[in-house]
């Protein structure tokens, strides 16, 4: 019995891997600037084999300077947000939490808005978003340690409160921002977008994101135990307090780093882990990599739509909400027993 479900999980994981590769490659061919699949393969092949260049400069520029950063960012942020979401959900044994439950997103959003108000450059915007995201979670965590009876509930409540404070701070910054330049910048940034992500931003952010994902990946079998419950985990000799700190730290590292380069992209961290669970069940050893792959494919796909739907760019955060919210409703109404 267990054998079949494990085989099924492996099978799904393999399919998700194939899908990820397919979306990754297909995304290179999708965009406003016409690049035919044959041209794309020709250029990619030429680059790989070091063949003499016989294609137009512009085609190469579109593929490597414009689309590649977006595609990599979509994959990285999608995987990051989903893995952080999966970890939070397991940790709190609550399917309704997501990376922003502890205030990471709201904190990072505030940090970014504040930096934009001061007119700092993009590197500083990212750094400050990251610092404020971490700060929000640390404060929320410290508050939760004062709640003796139920630290998990304490953490969620503290997170909600901290989020609200930081969101209000962001609103205040919008109020005093210059309506001609800074305000649209902040507003747009908060909508979330990966359309003009730059390669060096991506490299900076990929370090904490990959580091956090690696930590969570290595801990995935322990997550199974933590997700079952405090007492069980303790009886297996796992120090739940230390585990919780490590998982929260890793997830927050991921979320803040994601928000710091892409702005607020909602729903991914909440919805994707549920899909992963529907596909492969609750075993974190399979469910965790599944979340990462699905999240990456999902965000790359949504970004393809963001750049194709209209002449203008559609902020990706808007699209993920449009897609994520109805799906989530469907899940709750029809598959509530499975969640």
């Amino acid at each position: 019995m267990a054998g079949t479900s494990e085989r099924r999980g492996k099978c799904f994981l393999f399919l998700a891997g194939i899908l990820f590769i397919a979306v990754f490659v297909a995304s290179f061919a999708l965009g406003k600037y016409p690049v035919s699949p044959s041209e794309l393969l020709h250029v990619l092949w030429g680059k790989l084999t070091g063949a003499p260049k016989d294609w137009a400069d512009d085609i190469e520029l579109v593929i490597f300077k414009i689309r590649m950063p977006r595609i990599l960012a979509g994959a990285l942020i999608g995987a990051g947000l989903s893995s952080a979401g999966a970890a939070y959900q397991g940790l709190f044994r609550n399917p309704m939490v997501s990376p922003d439950v502890l205030g990471a997103s709201a904190g990072a959003g505030f940090g970014a808005a504040f930096s934009l108000l001061l007119g700092l450059n993009f590197a500083m915007v990212s750094v400050n978003a990251f610092i404020c995201g971490l700060l929000a979670v640390i404060v929320a965590y410290l508050i939760s340690t004062r709640v003796k009876q139920n630290p998990t509930l304490g953490m969620v409540l503290a997170g909600i409160m901290i989020s609200s404070l930081f969101s209000s701070g962001t609103s205040y910054i919008k109020l005093i921002a210059d309506p001609n330049n800074t305000l649209p910048l902040i507003t747009y940034w908060l909508m979330g977008s990966i359309s003009s992500i730059r390669v060096n931003e991506l490299i900076y952010a990929s370090i904490p994101i990959c580091l956090g994902m690696l930590v969570l990946y290595l801990l995935r079998w322990k997550m199974n135990l933590v997700a079952v419950g405090e007492d069980e985990a303790r009886s297996m000799g796992i120090n739940t307090k230390v585990m919780r700190i490590i998982i929260v730290a890793a997830s927050t590292l991921i979320s803040s780093a994601c928000v710091s380069i892409s702005g607020m992209i909602g729903w991914v961290g909440l919805v994707i882990p549920h899909f992963a669970r529907l596909a492969v069940g609750h075993d974190y050893r399979v469910m965790f990599p599944m979340s990462m792959l699905m999240g990456a494919s999902f965000l790359m796909t949504v970004d393809d739509f963001a750049r194709l739907l209209a002449t203008q760019e559609i902020p990706i955060g808007i699209l993920t909400a449009f897609v994520g919210a109805p799906f989530f409703l469907y899940l709750i109404l029809n598959r509530g027993d499975k969640i």
Binding site: V62, I66, L190, E313
Partner: protein, 383 residues
């Protein structure tokens, strides 16, 4: 819960930004037609009080019909004015700086060289179309009148009536876009008792506009230059064709490549670099504070001919941008600057002289040659 709150906040802010930057494209076209007939109706008629002795306050007011056809009793002698938004602030500063009792938006430090500290330290009331107008702050400053200037918005009539009902201070709206600018100056001049200065400004505006009309009509379609005008930290937020934020381009005879449906952000729309490469503008303009300084070195911009050919510029800024932001009278010098930049043979101005004259007349400040050079540092053809 938190998500809902956040998305609500986003929606609200989008709506606000949208509202703050004027109506949608659809409103624009309809309002232009109606405003033509409305603004002519702005007229004065000293109110005839049936019994002269009964009400002395009536003696000192005139009845004024504003651009939205609202009849308002306003004082005859006006020495204290509150602007209700950034556009009105610019216009009133050019017309009667000493009568302002406050500002709609705080003036930044980079405006210090052009605007006297006395004005920069006035209290800030906020902007009505941005929902930050503080009615009590206005009342505290005791203006005799609240003036809003700008595009015709469908709600303008109700909006200004609302301000008047709340503050008890007569509040009027005067329609002002490029075409109606001279007329609006004359109307405002009458209201605030600055006819002489208003006439100077109005005739300068009229002269410039008719000059520009003639010159741009003389440019054959084949020679028209394709222009992209963008802002933001990626430079990819396009100012959309057909909005007040980009009408300087159309007026001088350029072709704004960003001919797309307007987004919620009122005149600006994010596009992708791929789209820009498809448009291939011959000239790229960056708004102040955008990425002019490193556009030349950013890899993704090297597919745009204008960048490769060194035909990209930063819009001059100080005290206000030459292209708008806010789209007020600052665009008048913008017309001369952009015309001269795109078609130097047709708009054969000596920009140094032109800028000095405009600044003296409108901003009440004498510029030195160094200041002019500084203004135009990134806005001239690269030799």
């Amino acid at each position: 819960m938190k998500k809902t709150f956040l998305s609500l906040m986003l929606v609200c802010s989008m709506v606000l930004v949208g509202a703050g930057c004027g109506g949608t494209a659809a409103d624009d076209s309809s309002s232009r037609q109606e405003s033509a007939s409305v603004s002519e109706k702005s007229d004065f008629s000293t109110s005839k009080s049936s019994d002269a002795a009964s009400d002395s306050s009536k003696e000192n007011t005139v009845r004024f019909t504003d651009s939205t056809d609202r009849e308002v009793e306003i004082p005859k002698e006006i020495s204290r004015i509150a602007p209700s938004g950034p556009l009105a602030q610019v216009v009133l500063y050019t017309l009667c700086p000493d009568k302002l009792v406050g500002l709609a938006t705080e003036m930044s430090d980079n405006q210090a060289g052009y605007i006297d500290d006395a004005y920069r330290s006035l209290p800030v009331f906020g902007n009505f179309y941005g929902d930050t107008l503080n009615m009590e702050a206005i009342m505290k400053a005791k203006p005799q009148i609240v003036i809003d200037v700008g595009e015709m918005k469908p709600s303008a009539k109700e909006d200004m009536k609302g301000v008047q009902d709340k503050t008890g201070i007569p509040s009027i709206f005067v329609h002002m876009e490029l075409d109606s600018m001279a007329e609006a100056y004359r109307t405002l001049g009458k209201i605030v008792g600055e006819e002489e200065q208003a006439e100077k400004l109005a005739s300068y505006v009229e002269e410039t506009l008719s000059e520009v009309k003639g010159k741009s009509a003389s440019i054959p379609d084949a020679d028209k230059v394709k222009v992209y005008y963008g802002q933001g930290d990626a430079g990819l937020t396009a100012f959309v064709k057909g909005t007040v934020h980009a009408d300087v381009i159309d007026a001088v005879g350029g072709i704004n490549v960003a001919d797309i449906e307007q987004s919620v952000r009122g005149g600006a729309s994010d596009i992708s670099m791929e789209q820009l490469m498809l448009w291939q503008p011959e000239v790229v303009l960056f708004a102040p504070g955008s990425i002019y300084s490193d556009a030349g070195t950013r890899a993704e911009w090297q597919g745009v001919d204008a960048i490769k050919n060194q035909k990209y510029y930063e819009v001059p800024q100080g005290p206000y941008s030459f292209m708008g932001q806010p789209p007020s009278v600052n665009r008048i010098i913008g017309l001369k600057w952009l015309g001269n930049l795109l078609y130097p043979e047709v708009y054969s101005y000596d920009m140094n002289e032109e800028i000095k004259e405009f600044y003296k007349l409108f901003y009440h400040c004498d510029l030195s040659d160094e200041q002019v050079d500084q203004l135009l540092a990134n806005s001239k053809n690269k030799e």
